[in-house]
């Protein structure tokens, strides 16, 4: 595929996305003229682009669509649900056609073709007028050049005379760009802009083209080459080309054929340098005497032409010309500076990899400098590491994209699904500008889709049930995203029926996921829906409910080092919360040491560090400013040999609203951490998120704070549960605070 086509496909997809968003908006606000114009513009841009890459099916289809949009824009038809549905389907169809183009398949398969034909029929039905689908077979009408009598005009340049049709703009064409392109074939010696066809202000439609150009072009190209420049507007313009050294009579013929009056044309031809004044005079005089047909403008006698020519305008033109050429060159150069740069994703990945290596190498240099105790060297390396840090941040920034695009896709989903289900549901989006890593965004789409569909299908009740429960008939599904201590939180919530705990419990027992006599907290019960093969819906619907959903969602999210959980209030709705790391490549880490090994705690999850003292050996929580903080000894967790030093430290970490302490031997400070994945062998290792390489070349393990915090709080619960009846009142209350603060 050539570069133009791939750019076209990419841009068209963006236009389609915008068009779809606007169509959905149109449904809400039918008479927003700006919005309708936007839809029209998107379709128009796609059509124009399709014309350039010569993709016939898209041009003809979009043309028809545009006709309908034009009718809509002029207020000749009202926005109805069936109309917007049709337009959305057209959007999809255009997407499919683009897909074909992308896959370099020339003709659509029978199914798509039939679908396209059906849509075409429906579009036509809406238009109610017999619109012809313009076939894009490029016609090549030979322009007759009669050789007739008369002297040869001494000129070595082509003369091109073009009058653009009124519909050129509507066809997405920009006449000037053709003329500019013409200039690339050779040198434009003279150009005259003809605007005589323009009516008075009242009748003038600013979206119609009334322009024409007389161009003198010096080029080695053939007539066919010149004609090819105008291929895309061929149906919509009058084009006359006179080769170099044409007979004077041909120029005269040209003058007579063109719609403008003869005198004015003669003047124009002289001005753009095609003819001399004498030649025109002679030609017209000959014409007059031989044919007995006086020029149309018979009131103006021939001498008038001469008078005009000596008008100082002609002289001035030469003066201005010189400046013109230079200015055009300057402006063309500037136009090439685009505001956006498209970069291949793999190039970006390569850059991130290199930055990762740079960070490690920088850390190594830093370490050596500190060992050398050379002050200058230490200073130099610290400047260097600051710069590396900046480079790292901006390199990662390059991969950050806003989640908004992913969210807005769901407008369409909600619309279609709610129509299918016969429910009235609106989608509210917040936090669309929250940024996260591109690779994460790409992978989060499917799990989100599942959650949204689940909410639409199972969450929101039918309108009559809602009214019965005293809720508004229109259900609401919300998507929300925000940053929270180094992770991104995405929430899908609905105001529907919520999850039925007893039903889930019964189902879980039936599926032997839990023991009938097991005691589980409410949140543990409702999170059972993420277990494989779990669905409480009795009836399998077309959308979801086949029992393959939620465990896949959790697996996908876990693969991104994220977590998903659900909270629900029966009768009021449920909220699914996805927590994801911001990036998968490099993080700011906090380096801690246990014995000789080093571990990295993601800095974003570190709340504070406190000294570890006066703690009895068997208690696993401490009183931190009046709150109970469960903690874990890393030394015990990893069964490190040796005796703990006299002075230990506790790193207080936070994850998802839960806090826990991690007891370590020493704190070694901030460290830029390039995450290296662990091998498959360690896939089932709990509490370790990955590894990294220290400046010294040693390997440090990255702690998985989420897993640690969970295991800490679970251990506390288990430890306490069997003792519960035997505990005194005072310790029971402190235990419950421990649990509360751990939640």
């Amino acid at each position: 595929m050539d570069a133009i086509t791939s750019v076209f496909i990419q841009e068209s997809r963006e236009q389609l996305a915008e068009m779809e968003a606007r169509l959905l908006q149109l449904e809400q606000v039918p008479d927003d003229i700006d919005n309708i114009n936007g839809i029209f513009r998107a379709a128009h841009t796609i059509k124009g682009g399709a014309g350039v890459v010569e993709c016939g099916p898209i041009v003809s289809f979009t043309h028809l669509l545009e006709n309908l949009l034009d009718v809509l824009r002029n207020g000749e038809t009202a926005v109805t649900p069936s109309l917007t549905t049709l337009l959305l389907e057209c959007c999809d169809h255009m997407g499919h056609l683009l897909g074909l183009l992308a896959a370099e398949i020339a003709a659509p398969d029978a199914e798509l073709q039939a679908h396209g034909d059906a849509l075409t029929e429906r579009l036509k039905a809406f238009l109610q007028t017999d619109v012809q689908v313009s076939d894009l077979v490029v016609q090549d009408p030979e322009i007759e050049v009669e050789t007739s009598g008369g002297g040869v005009v001494i000129t070595d340049s082509w003369h091109i005379s073009v009058r653009f049709g009124e519909n050129v703009f509507r066809g997405g064409m920009e006449p000037l760009s053709y003329i500019r392109y013409l200039a690339s074939l050779g040198e434009i010696l003279g150009i005259e802009t003809i605007s005589d066809a323009m009516p008075a202000a009242a009748e003038m439609d600013p979206e119609s083209c009334y322009m024409g150009f007389e161009i003198r072009l010096q080029t080695r190209s053939s007539k066919a080459d010149i004609e090819r420049v105008f291929d895309f507007v061929r149906d919509d313009c009058e084009l006359r080309i006179l080769p170099p050294n044409s007979k004077l009579a041909e120029y005269i013929k040209l003058i007579q054929e063109l719609p403008e009056d003869t005198m004015r044309l003669g003047e124009i031809l002289v001005r753009c340098g095609a003819l001399t004044q004498a030649e025109v005079d002679e030609g017209l005089r000959n014409q007059k005497s031989t044919t007995e047909h006086p020029p149309v403008d018979s009131e103006a006698p021939p001498p008038h032409l001469g008078e005009i020519l000596v008008d100082n305008k002609v002289v001035q033109k030469q003066v201005v010309d010189a400046a013109v050429v230079k200015q055009t060159l300057v402006s063309e150069k500037k136009a090439k500076e685009a505001q956006l740069v498209r970069v291949q994703a793999d190039k970006l990945d390569q850059l991130i990899d290199l930055v990762g290596e740079l960070v490690i190498a920088g850390a190594s240099a830093n370490l050596l400098a500190q060992k050398s105790r050379n002050v200058d060297l230490v200073e130099a390396t610290s400047v260097l590491s600051r710069l590396v840090e900046n480079i790292r941040d901006s390199a990662l920034q390059l991969r950050m994209v806003q989640i908004g695009d992913t969210f807005t896709r769901f407008n369409r989903v909600v619309r279609d699904v709610s129509k299918d289900l016969g429910k009235e549901i609106e989608l509210s989006i917040s936090g669309a500008e929250t940024e996260l890593d591109k690779t994460v965004v790409e992978k989060i789409g499917d799990p989100l889709m599942h959650l949204v569909r689940n909410s639409l299908d199972h969450g929101i009740e039918p309108a009559d049930v809602r009214l019965e429960r005293g809720k508004p008939a229109c259900g609401r599904v919300s998507l929300n995203a925000f940053h929270d201590s180094g992770i991104i939180v995405i929430q899908v919530s609905d105001d529907g029926g919520g999850l039925n705990r007893e039903k889930i419990r019964a189902k879980a027992i039936e599926r032997e996921l839990i023991q009938p006599d097991g005691t589980l907290s409410d949140s543990e019960i409702i999170n059972l829906i993420f277990e494989p093969g779990f669905s409480t819906v009795d009836q399998v619907s077309k959308l979801s409910g086949r029992g393959v959903g939620m465990d896949v969602v959790r697996r996908n999210i876990t693969a991104l080092r994220g977590t998903v959980d659900v909270t629900s209030v029966e009768g009021q709705g449920s909220t699914f919360t996805i927590r994801l790391p911001l990036t998968l490549a490099i993080i700011d880490g906090f380096l801690v040491g246990v014995d000789k090994a080093a571990y990295v705690i993601p800095l974003d999850s570190v709340v504070e560090c406190i000294e570890h003292k006066n703690l009895a050996g068997d208690r696993n929580f401490l009183n931190l400013r009046g709150e109970a903080l469960p903690f874990i000894r890393l030394r015990e967790l990893f069964e490190t040999e040796g005796q703990a030093p006299a002075r230990e430290s506790i790193v207080v970490v936070q994850f998802g609203g839960q806090r826990a302490g991690i007891v370590v031997d020493q704190l070694m400070g901030e460290f830029q951490t390039v995450i290296k994945p662990l091998g498959r062998l360690f896939a089932n290792l709990r509490g370790i998120g990955g590894s990294t390489i220290l400046g010294s070349g040693e390997v440090a393990l990255i702690l998985d704070v989420a897993a640690l915090v969970q295991s800490v709080s679970r251990a506390e619960e288990e430890r306490l549960a069997p003792h519960r009846p035997a505990l005194g009142i005072s310790s029971l209350s402190s235990n419950s605070t421990a649990l509360q603060s751990a939640r």
Binding site: F164, E174, A200, P206, S331
Partner: protein, 101 residues
């Protein structure tokens, strides 16, 4: 009626704005005898934009008024130059020194 009135256009003079610009220009012309156009903020101009400039010039001529473009942006002057309308329009084009070289 003021003797001369200045109208500044700041949006792109392209087909997308053609409808509103036509109205703006004609309204401005109807309220004065001597309209001055400041186009120094126009970022882009296409054939439709040029067409409107021609229209307003023609209308002015018809009504015996005058329309002068007092400031061109780079985009405007390059289109006018390219189409060889500079003389037709008769407005002074300022060529910045650093670009003329």
């Amino acid at each position: 009626m003021p003797s001369s009135q200045l109208l500044s256009i700041t949006e792109d003079m392209t087909i997308y704005h053609a409808l509103e610009h036509k109205q703006t220009l004609l309204d401005a012309l109807s309220s004065t005898d001597d309209l001055e156009l400041n186009l120094s903020e126009v970022g882009e101009m296409d054939t439709a934009g040029l067409q409107l400039l021609i229209l307003v010039k023609k209308e002015a001529q018809r009504a015996g008024k005058s329309v002068r473009i007092v400031a061109h942006s780079q985009a405007v002057s390059s289109v006018i130059d390219f189409c060889n309308m500079a003389v037709e329009f008769g407005d002074p084009l300022i060529i910045p020194a650093h670009q003329a070289s």
